[in-house]
């Protein structure tokens, strides 16, 4: 069945102009969610380092792309790579400081870094727009500025991200580097005794994951046209980034895709129900419930349940 999925996607692409914008926009949200989830999955799912600070890299991808565009007219095609570089630099410093800590201490340290960036974004109002956030100057349909009134182009871009990140995950899983990350995830001391350079492996995984998050942040910025401190560095976003992999299946290449798609379907359905019946925020409640169910009954995620006994 699995080889049919990409074929079905490609076959459906020419029908895109006939699909209504609401469905297209929801699809883009899902694809962005999936790409960000796949990026987080590298460091947390494969590497076992539960980062709660990946909003930092999402935020840097968004803010750097947006600021360069608004202030200097740098097109996002180039600006996003600046965002990736800044994220790599921040990840290098952040990782060097935090990755020697174990488990929950690492997670808490990454929360602290997120809070610091939250304050920075709120403080430098001239550059970031402060609490109100940063909105892109809208030029209408423009390939150069990566802007479009119609969500269609973002579906294509999101699909490219999904396939590329899936492919990167598969390559990492099949590589020596991926094997060492998984060994570190299982047992750091045994990995060190087996000759694995534990800290270097963790740092490398963190850098790859940060760069992928910032790159997907570029797509996020172009689609939403705006970013604010809460959406970038808030704890809500940090948790949101983990859901696709947690629900779909940690450390698997399919997990974030299945988890991300499911979360958007759930969130759209509950949003519809919420506006219709007047329950605001019911989607968050449903997220929480789904997460609780997964943690309690299916810690391997949906992929783990579906493909029981089979290896990934």
């Amino acid at each position: 069945m699995r080889p049919l999925i990409p074929i079905a996607i490609v076959a459906a692409l020419p029908a895109l102009p006939f699909v209504n914008n609401y469905i297209l926009a929801a699809t883009v949200r899902a694809l962005i969610f999936i790409a960000l989830g796949q990026a987080w999955n590298i460091v947390a799912g494969i590497g076992g380092q539960l980062s709660l600070g990946h909003g930092v890299f999402l935020g840097l991808g968004c803010y750097v792309t947006g600021i360069l565009f608004n202030e200097l007219g740098v097109p996002p095609w180039i600006g996003v790579w600046a965002g990736v570089l800044v994220s790599l630099a921040v990840a290098l410093v952040m990782g060097s400081m935090t990755l020697r800590m174990r488990g929950v201490f690492f997670a808490l340290a990454t929360v602290a870094v997120s809070l610091a960036f939250d304050q920075l974004a709120r403080h430098y109002v001239d550059l970031t727009g402060g609490d109100n956030g940063l909105a892109l100057k809208f030029l209408g349909n423009s390939l150069w500025a990566m802007q479009s009134r119609w969500p269609g182009p973002f579906v294509y871009a999101g699909l490219v991200f999904m396939i590329l990140y899936y492919w990167i995950t598969r390559i990492i899983l099949a590589s020596r580097f991926g094997l060492e990350m998984r060994a570190v995830r299982d047992d750091e001391i045994a990995a060190a005794a087996a000759g694995v350079r534990v800290f270097r492996t963790k740092l490398l995984g963190f850098l790859v994951s940060a760069a992928m998050t910032a790159l997907a942040g570029g797509l996020y910025m172009q689609f939403y046209q705006a970013i604010d401190p809460e959406s970038a560095f808030g704890l809500g976003q940090a948790i949101q980034l983990q859901l696709p992999a947690l629900i779909g299946g940690l450390g698997t290449a399919w997990g974030p895709i299945i988890g991300g798609a499911l979360m958007i379907v759930l969130s759209e359905a509950t949003n519809w129900g919420a506006t219709r019946f007047g329950f605001i925020g019911v989607d968050i409640l449903v997220y929480g419930l789904v997460l609780l169910i997964v943690v309690l009954w299916a810690p391997q995620g949906i992929v783990g349940v579906l493909w029981k006994g089979r290896r990934r």
Binding site: E180, R182, A183, D186, D187, A190, A193, G195, V196, R311
Partner: protein, 233 residues
């Protein structure tokens, strides 16, 4: 040639001293045993040699090379493998991945070393695709030893490989260790099970972090400590 020389080693965790001024040395090709009860400091000595805990004072030298201050992966790359206490295999890696991850190239390619490990432990070959966590205790111990051998070590250090195994399985493990030693690998064996003395060339008996007695197999087997352990007097 001296395989390993430990001199005046002291290891402490905060204020708690686990190993006090311990010295011993052995030659290449030997099976050297560190025998002692729980809390005698055996594990700390191995962990210190491996670079997992720092020495407070004293030196560890392998051949001509000082191991002091090396990190664990550097010790592994220097040809010293450590089978840690409690086996610590990777539960979510397959048997073959458990072995592959600790392969360090030293002349032979991975397939050759892997085949040699499977020949020594045919059970692992049968279960190569199974997750490490699904193995029985005895199989996990074989996997832990096999994993250490993937490093093609000159010195193999084992921390209580018989712990938690039935006497039959423990004998099997000791028999395999004898075979590994016969192929030229020096062994440093930590045990509280005095049966392992059958294998030993030399060894020391440790108590409360100090050397109680050092000698060859006959001297150790003849000691009060071992008599008491055997006869319960």
């Amino acid at each position: 040639m001296t395989a390993l020389a430990v001199a005046n080693l002291t290891v402490s965790y905060g204020d708690v001293v686990a190993v006090r001024d311990v010295s011993f040395a052995f030659d290449a090709g030997e099976v050297f045993v560190l025998l002692g009860a729980n809390g005698a400091g055996k594990t700390s000595i191995l962990r210190c040699i491996s670079g997992l805990v720092p020495a407070r004072s004293g030196t560890t030298v392998s051949g001509e090379r000082s191991l002091n201050g090396l990190s664990p992966h550097e010790v592994a790359r220097a040809g010293i493998s450590h089978v840690p206490e409690g086996r610590r295999i990777f539960p979510n890696l397959s048997v073959e991945e458990n072995l592959t991850v600790s392969f360090i190239p030293r002349g032979s390619d991975r397939g050759t070393v892997l085949a040699a490990v499977y020949k020594l432990f045919p059970r692992l070959a049968e279960r190569r695709r199974q997750f490490g966590g699904t193995l029985s205790g005895g199989e996990q111990q074989m996997l832990a030893i096999g994993r250490a051998l993937m490093n093609s070590p000159a010195l193999l250090m084992l921390d209580e490989p018989s712990l938690g195994l039935s006497p039959v399985l423990a004998d099997l493990v000791f028999e395999r260790l004898a075979a590994i030693n016969a192929q030229g690998t020096t062994i440093l064996l930590v045990e509280q099970n005095a049966t392992c003395l059958e294998l030993a060339t030399h060894g020391v008996i440790l108590q409360n972090g100090r050397v109680l007695l050092a000698g060859d197999r006959a001297a150790l087997q003849d000691s009060d400590f071992v008599r008491r352990a055997y006869l319960g007097i």
